[in-house]
Amino acid sequence: MKMPGLEYSGVKNIDGPLVFVDNIRNVAYDELVVITAPNGEERMGQVLDVTATSAVVQVFGGTDALSPAGTRARFLGESLRIPVSREMLGRVFDGLGRPKDGLPMPLNADYLDVNGLPVNPYAREYPRDFIQTGISAIDLMNTLVRGQKLPIFSGNGLPHNRIAAQIARQARLLNEEVDFAIVFAAMGVKHDVAHFFIDSFQSSGVLNNVAMFLSLADDPSVERLITPRSALTLAEYLAFTEGMHVLVLITDMSNYCEALREISTARGEIPSRKGYPGYLYSDLASIYERAGRLRDGSGSITQMPILTMPSDDISHPIPDLTGYITEGQIVLERDMFQRGIYPPVAGLPSLSRLMKDGIGKDRTRADHPRVASQLFAAYSKVKDIRSLASVIGEEELSPVDKLYIQFGHEFENRVIGQGEFENRTIEQTLELGWDVLKILPRAELLRVSEEELQQYYDQAPQVETLR
């Protein structure tokens, strides 16, 4: 860090992760602080509120063992910066961008402010390049495009990590070999989860293209506030300066939000829903909006944050506000998981907002938009018929309704369900979609066009359906 700055010993109060420093001069808002503990250990902090003579500092390393008398604060006169360089791929860092793998700091690195700057909407390029993940539930129904931010809404115990790893392993653009990188940020997750990802990257041979920022469950919680920003600062550098296509995986946003709530409570702020601060939306947006493509750059940032919904409640503030910012969501369903369906992607609440421009003629296949729409419509009817069947019994259903029940079963097991290492092309996925649609009578399929019915429903040979 460049400027040494003045060191003050006027620590007045220590409250949770916050330190209140008095009798200071010329301190700036958001400035970086080095807090020296009585035992000489140094921790990083950041100014949250400043008056002419006092400052509130949040300490990333935690405040344990700090005492008002023995603690000193040194203000560095600049905001938090991390090194960025292409050499950081293949390395492991902590939440503040310091090496965690025992190797030295990368050479020839630029230092960039972790908060970044807002992208000018005028300078953005609208994302519309289809990414084939090889997972039908995503490719067919909730298509991911390059530069999109698409979170996974999961619950405790659901296989979100396996799905994220599968996406990282299989994701590729149709007909293109590109310069790609993965930036992985972990906040408050357990060591074995981090190891699962490392192993997965290693076994698929991409480890040298991955930069990791780990702030694990036993690291100080305040560090989690910086971790995703560090990761995205590197991602922005790789994408917009180096021109790479970057996939950013962030797990678990729920832990991030809890750290934010902790700071907010310690500052005595007026809480909004469930104790989270009123600015949770803006704060989350300052992370999620750091994705996309630029008009004049060749790179892109595709963001896949993972969050676990507390007690599977999608209306909880964290998934709720996330859904308002991100471009859709992949929702995992406990019921499907219990029935042994992998990936248990819920059919109806999942959504990709950028899908409409990334699919269709010249992108995936001309019939894709209408097939997806038809599957959604039919599957939504399945849900209604299932609840009817639970009242009057399946035997009493009309013949058409019984076909819908069969369709629902086949759709969940054959289209949504697939192997963890099964990589389907978009063609295979669309064929599967038509296969299950053939269970339904032709007259029920109103969302596909007459020509498509002739081409795919009437003429293609009927494939044996599994009973």
């Binding site: 700036a28 958001d30 008056t51 959504l351 939504s380």
Partner: protein
């Protein structure tokens, strides 16, 4: 504007996020614009107390420190008005994002400034008055063809009243050029230019408000036919995430029959603004035949841009709308989303340590919402023309729960409520506007207009609404006993309701034909649905079977009429009508024999 404003300089004493406190601010007035710190960040005074001012800063305050200076400008936060607004994308405080991108690249640097309107560009001016003419507020003194479809009328600003001393001849002039000199009644002279200023928080004056008579036609059937909005009306679109608020707003911005669209992206996604920027120039306005971008102004304050500028963005937008209204245009304002604006208020209020009311929102939230929606209306302008501003605000209730404060307060100040339904959205039935929970109080105001186009409109509408209501009740029973246990007549109602939902209410905004539905086609479709209903009911009453109706030739084409029959194609309409009619005739003949 005072010339000695440089003398009034204060000093920062506290920085807390976007809220800055400064002392030595005795001369600062409420809502005055100030420049904060060495970076000259734009801020606005929101509280004055004993020489100390509280300032909300419209840019990120990182790096700002106590002791830095605050410079007073002695003017309220204003927008610049004049030709060149159309087709431009601005941020919340009217900085032109295209020019900012040219200066600072893809990221927005702090303290970046650029003229909202290009001062170097010339416009072809045609004078409309001569020396000796009297001008007062709203008197046109000239005009400029801003785009091929929009004639930009230059009106005397509200604080000017006097006699024209001189005026330039027709020709090309820049925005700051003194086009005319007015000898003011109160003494002194004042030049008139193409460019003017107006404070964003102050509604522009009008002669009087007029009652609403005309619908704002949107081309969306569920809105035009069921829950219409009048020109000059205010509507809210509440819906949880993923229910299609933005999609609906964009469809309205594309196809509604206003002359000018002001689209405010308030705390929403950057890519959505990019989408509008990319798509609108390529789309053709069905009325003027020109590119849609030529009638559109974008205000983009995305969710990651500074929160205080989000608070002001909706005022910036509506002030621009009022400016064009005063020229006699119908303007529609889309505000997406007012909840993000309310959250910005809450965040700023929290930083000010104000006592919160509901869910942390400040107690003045309803007053601010009312102030915003009341700027909608149809008016007689100061010049004596008619113009209107319609406001359509999206609301994003947390968890999709409409009982939260922003939705509740908003519904008090609007008269048209388009409730988006999660179940419809899940079934990808768009627009997911619920026919159970939505309402429009404008219906009575505009029924006469429709009756002039189509005598049966109101009756047809009523028949269709009744079927949908009946279906809701029947579904309750069907859920318990299964639809097959219902009598034929009721099953027919379910079938017809299904047809109404799929063939009429659901509209595909990506389908070339279906994306915009003309009033004529809407009337025809409604008439077809009603005819079908009456005749099939009659057939069932006489003992016909539902199965026969389901096998009716042409029924599948009837179901696809929205996308297979283009607007105004009366031949195709007649052909389909004949086909269905023949089938029904055949069924009826069975019972005559």
């Amino acid at each position: 504007m005072s010339s000695d404003h440089r003398e009034h300089i204060g000093e920062i004493i506290r920085v807390n996020g976007p809220i800055v406190e400064a002392r030595h601010m005795e001369h600062a007035g409420m809502l005055e614009v100030v420049e904060v710190g060495a970076m000259r960040l734009i801020g606005e005074v929101i509280k004055v107390h004993r020489g100390a001012a509280t300032i909300q800063v419209y840019e990120n305050t990182s790096g700002l420190s106590p002791g830095e200076e605050v410079i007073c400008t002695a003017r309220p936060l204003s927008v610049r008005l004049g030709p060149g607004l159309l087709g431009t994308i601005y941020d919340g405080i009217q900085r032109p994002l295209d020019r900012i991108a040219a200066i600072s690249g893809a990221m927005i640097n702090r303290g970046e400034k650029a003229d909202p309107l290009d001062p170097a560009r010339t416009w072809h001016f045609q004078p409309q008055c001569k020396p000796g003419d009297r001008v007062t507020t709203g008197t046109p003194f000239g005009e400029v063809q801003e785009t091929l479809s929009i004639n930009h009328r230059l009106l005397t600003p509200p604080d000017v009243s006097g006699t024209i001393v001189s005026i330039v001849p027709e020709g090309d002039y820049t925005g700051e050029h003194h086009l005319a000199i007015v000898k003011l009644d109160k003494g002194g002279e004042r030049p008139l230019t193409m460019f003017q200023h107006w404070p964003v928080r102050l509604p522009r004056p009008v002669r009087q408000r007029l009652s609403l008579r005309q619908p704002l036609l949107t081309g969306l059937r569920v809105i035009d036919a069921f829950f219409p909005i009048a020109k000059g009306g205010a509507a809210a679109i509440p819906g949880g995430f993923g229910t299609g608020k933005t999609m609906t707003q964009q469809a309205l911005a594309k196809w509604c029959d206003a002359h000018i669209i002001v689209y405010i992206g308030c705390g929403e996604r950057g890519n959505e603004m990019t989408e509008v920027l990319r798509e609108f120039p390529e789309l053709v306005d069905p009325r003027s035949g020109r590119s849609l971008m030529e009638r559109t102004i974008l205000i983009a304050n995305t969710s990651n841009m500074p929160v205080a500028a989000r608070e002001v963005s909706i005022y910036t937008g509506i002030t621009l709308a009022e400016y064009y209204r005063d020229m006699g245009y119908d303007v529609a304002v889309m505000a997406d989303s007012t909840s993000r604006w309310a959250e910005a208020l809450r965040e700023l209020s929290g930083r000010l340590e104000e006592m919160p009311a509901d869910e942390g929102f400040p107690a003045y939230l309803p007053a601010r919402l009312a102030g915003f929606y009341e700027r909608a209306g149809k008016v007689e302008t100061m010049e004596g023309k008619e113009g209107s501003v319609s406001v359509i605000g999206a609301v994003s209730p947390p968890g999709g729960d409409f009982s939260e404060p922003v939705t509740q307060h908003t519904s008090r100040f609007i008269r048209c409520f388009w409730a988006l339904d999660r179940d419809l959205a899940n079934a990808r039935h768009y627009p997911a506007i619920s026919w159970k929970n939505s309402y429009s109080e404008y219906l009575v105001d505009i029924t006469d207009w429709w009756k002039n186009q189509d005598l049966d409109w109101a009756t047809n509408r009523q028949v269709i609404m009744e079927i949908l209501q009946e279906e809701t009740a029947l579904q309750q029973i069907a859920k318990l006993v299964g639809p097959d246990a219902l009598p034929e007549g009721q099953r027919l109602t379910l079938l017809i309701a299904d047809i109404i939902k799929n063939a009429f209410l659901q509209q595909n905004s990506f389908d070339e034909v279906d994306m915009y539905c003309s009033p004529g086609k809407q009337s025809w479709m409604m008439a077809m649905l009603v005819k079908f209903t009456l005749r099939t009911r009659d057939i069932i009453r006489r003992g016909g079977a539902l199965a026969d109706i389901q096998k009716l030739p042409g029924l599948d084409r009837f179901l696809r009429m929205k996308s297979e029959i283009p607007n105004g194609d009366t031949q195709a309409m007649a052909a389909l009508e004949q086909l269905l009619s023949n089938g029904l005739d055949a069924l009826e003949r069975k019972f005559v024999e």
